[in-house]
Symmetry: D2
Subunit: 281 residues, 4 copies
Amino acid sequence: MEISSFKEIVKKYKVIFFDSYGVLRNYKGIFPNIPEMFTMLESCGIKSFLLTNDASRSPKELAAKFQESGITAFSEDKVISSGMLAREYICRKISGGTIVYLGTESSAQYIQINGVKTISIHDVDLDKNDDYQLLVLLDDEGYDWNRDLSKTVNLLRRYTMPIIVANSDTTYPLSKDKVAIATGGVANLLESLVQKVFIRFGKPDSQMYSFAFDHIQQFGSIEKKDILMVGDTLQTDILGGNKFGIDTCLVLSGNTLPKNVELEIASTGIIPNYICNSVVS
Amino acid sequence: MEISSFKEIVKKYKVIFFDSYGVLRNYKGIFPNIPEMFTMLESCGIKSFLLTNDASRSPKELAAKFQESGITAFSEDKVISSGMLAREYICRKISGGTIVYLGTESSAQYIQINGVKTISIHDVDLDKNDDYQLLVLLDDEGYDWNRDLSKTVNLLRRYTMPIIVANSDTTYPLSKDKVAIATGGVANLLESLVQKVFIRFGKPDSQMYSFAFDHIQQFGSIEKKDILMVGDTLQTDILGGNKFGIDTCLVLSGNTLPKNVELEIASTGIIPNYICNSVVS
Amino acid sequence: MEISSFKEIVKKYKVIFFDSYGVLRNYKGIFPNIPEMFTMLESCGIKSFLLTNDASRSPKELAAKFQESGITAFSEDKVISSGMLAREYICRKISGGTIVYLGTESSAQYIQINGVKTISIHDVDLDKNDDYQLLVLLDDEGYDWNRDLSKTVNLLRRYTMPIIVANSDTTYPLSKDKVAIATGGVANLLESLVQKVFIRFGKPDSQMYSFAFDHIQQFGSIEKKDILMVGDTLQTDILGGNKFGIDTCLVLSGNTLPKNVELEIASTGIIPNYICNSVVS
Amino acid sequence: MEISSFKEIVKKYKVIFFDSYGVLRNYKGIFPNIPEMFTMLESCGIKSFLLTNDASRSPKELAAKFQESGITAFSEDKVISSGMLAREYICRKISGGTIVYLGTESSAQYIQINGVKTISIHDVDLDKNDDYQLLVLLDDEGYDWNRDLSKTVNLLRRYTMPIIVANSDTTYPLSKDKVAIATGGVANLLESLVQKVFIRFGKPDSQMYSFAFDHIQQFGSIEKKDILMVGDTLQTDILGGNKFGIDTCLVLSGNTLPKNVELEIASTGIIPNYICNSVVS
């Protein structure tokens, strides 16, 4: 297994898709030397985009968070989130009635559209009928799991509606050695109980990559062979990139530990084009 | 599809295994005419046992609940619960260290054994090492799902220990048209996140039936052909009884609705020996 | 549940994506009055495309089959198949070595690319090393299941390579009341045995829809709201169309029987925009 | 991780349950020094039983195979196979009509009972009605997978009947580094296509252990604490033994490789009481 230098391989591409956690930052904040890496990319004329499974805030808010940390590469139009796909789905498929969401009030702001009401599962009154059109899982916060997940099951037993999962990650890192259950984990629980088909957005689903690919065409005509997906997780970043037909680079600064990387590649059959220690290697 | 009279078919057997919810009682309490049914069985010399997926209280407490409702058929020694299997497992396999449980303090009393500490997941301090020997899922109450399920995931990432599920039901009826997520549902969530093998006790697993079969031999020598399992759920009561090799009777007073019964039998391939409207039919 | 007239609703769209089996034809051949339906669409300026999970022959051969039956709507450039996605994947990701395929020799012709060898699993010699780069499941014919599926398992135990499934349908209709196991079924078996991640192409995966969407832009600028997906299967045609954000029409001339349609929609939560008896209704 | 000497630990028990492949023999035949090991056990008064997932031949034939190799410990009454459970199920639950089997003619002989016809899936004529009472998967040989597995799917779509899997192993070792797909693998394929509940017999299911436990009581009163299950596979031998409440010993002479054992125990949470290099260590 060959370890490549990120600085070398990156020069073959015009566009880099960056995953966020485990690649550019961790729980403590931005990794060292990341701003310099972006300066290097810019000086080479390489464009950077953020590709993140996150539906808890808008691209604007996600961009602002990076700018606070001194990284200016990600203006709002350089951020592509799974929440954007959820919003697009809602705009195209829902034109009235009520959307029930699992998430914080703040996460729900981004899915507001004209003529459609939104209500938190926390505030749903099951004994009062309503014109429910959609259930959307936005975030793992903003509701009481003991009480409101059972309420969700009962809602789905009574009403027929599509169910979308705006972030399919099952856990997220809380600290170096602790994780928290994320929206995708909540979706697994509900799906095992109600036997309906949940529509999941975000990596590794190819819709995320198609969306990103279409989105970046505004910055100049880009072909698939010009793009490199950089991520720390085989099952999301690398699998999705491979399937979509772009090159992929696994970095060992996050989920995938150096000592396990060979075994994980062999046991999953998910093979990145490159393996690098980090994006500053 | 033929509907039989329970009073008629029951006379062919020496022992009846009764499921509880949906067969003898619902959320409002004991069904009408149940005490008379038990009087009839006793007068015919037919013995009754309760076979229940319940690990939230001891057989003694389960028996007391029935006696409060005027049903004397179920003395403590006539109650077989999935919690008893969990307790047997613990007695045989754990002889020291600490057991972590998900459940109420009261549910944990029944699994106390000499020389083994028990601690609620709620009180576990992940930053303090302990000699964890087992995780047991006892009940869906007694802990905060938002906080303590993530804590459980982190516990299982850090320590290697067996995980047992003392009640594998995924939901339980809360009212006529509402359910609540039960211990088995919580187990599904955790299992999808940690990728370990969870050991599930309770119907339809055959260990529940073997345990019951051995247990009843103290009341006289009984063969499998002498036993009838009566339940309202194809996937637990009937499937488990069929597999164990005893006769089975589905009643339509609970989970399985009369209008769906033919479709459900055809689509699952789980075929009871008899179908009755209720145990008082 | 409202049944719409296909002739009426179709006029709201500029482009129609047609599924093949159960929509335009069945085992006996093309349904009655289908050529007239296409004449009507053409006279209204509505463009038709075929969207099919088929990797057993090239788009050219698929087009020829329709032309033999008197349907001229589908020239080669109007056919989009899951096999085209498999081919695109191979062109983008494989540039040397050997591809092992499960399928007929004829199905393998379409995935030939310069500099890459192809070999049927039937001809693989496990005791001889080779530079295996990919396993692709093309068709359910062309190999001996008893012998060659075990050989496939052993190949995947020994070599690390991506595995792609060029048609994810699990069964296909053989006659009015008989089905045959298809490539997706074979994939399920292998995946349950080797525990690797299989990459599935074809409906309901959104990549099929993105690919089609990009493909049709050569015929004039088309927006998602201008497209209607017409199919007979909720789990593939309708689910995929809904997720991609185009309108969907379920026809009751194939997999979904009129008597079951309400129940199936309620139990899956997959809701088409329209339901029509057939495309000639 | 401590490696124990089998000769030492075995002395704490009155009864040993031996798995066959990977413990006593492999593809080449019986391991060296096995007959001497059994002589030692006999001289200590320790009783040996064979616990095997095998439904391709009767206990008598299984016993004969060991006797041919010079091992006399397993007379017919010392052999417990998953096929015996299938036979018991049939005797208890089926009393007429026709049983369809997947397997060789020879495997079907063991499930013959008075008044019940048996027919191979190979000979079933789907266009002729029959009184089908059961489908049983006995062996991976004796039928054509390409043709007869599709026929099985069509049979199960047309008739409602229970389906039992008489051996739930998904693969078996063919040679040192090759496996073949076994009956449990075929069951996985069919189950993914027909969505019915398949009843699986054999380790790790606890019914196998209950059956064995009851069976051995004829050789003297034995308690669970007196029994040691010895096997080479965590997911079957050890998991099942742990759940049933008997002690377990993993040997590293078969499926579980010495270099992987720690990782496999940690990742599955299946923990044997002892680990030994082999039964002659």
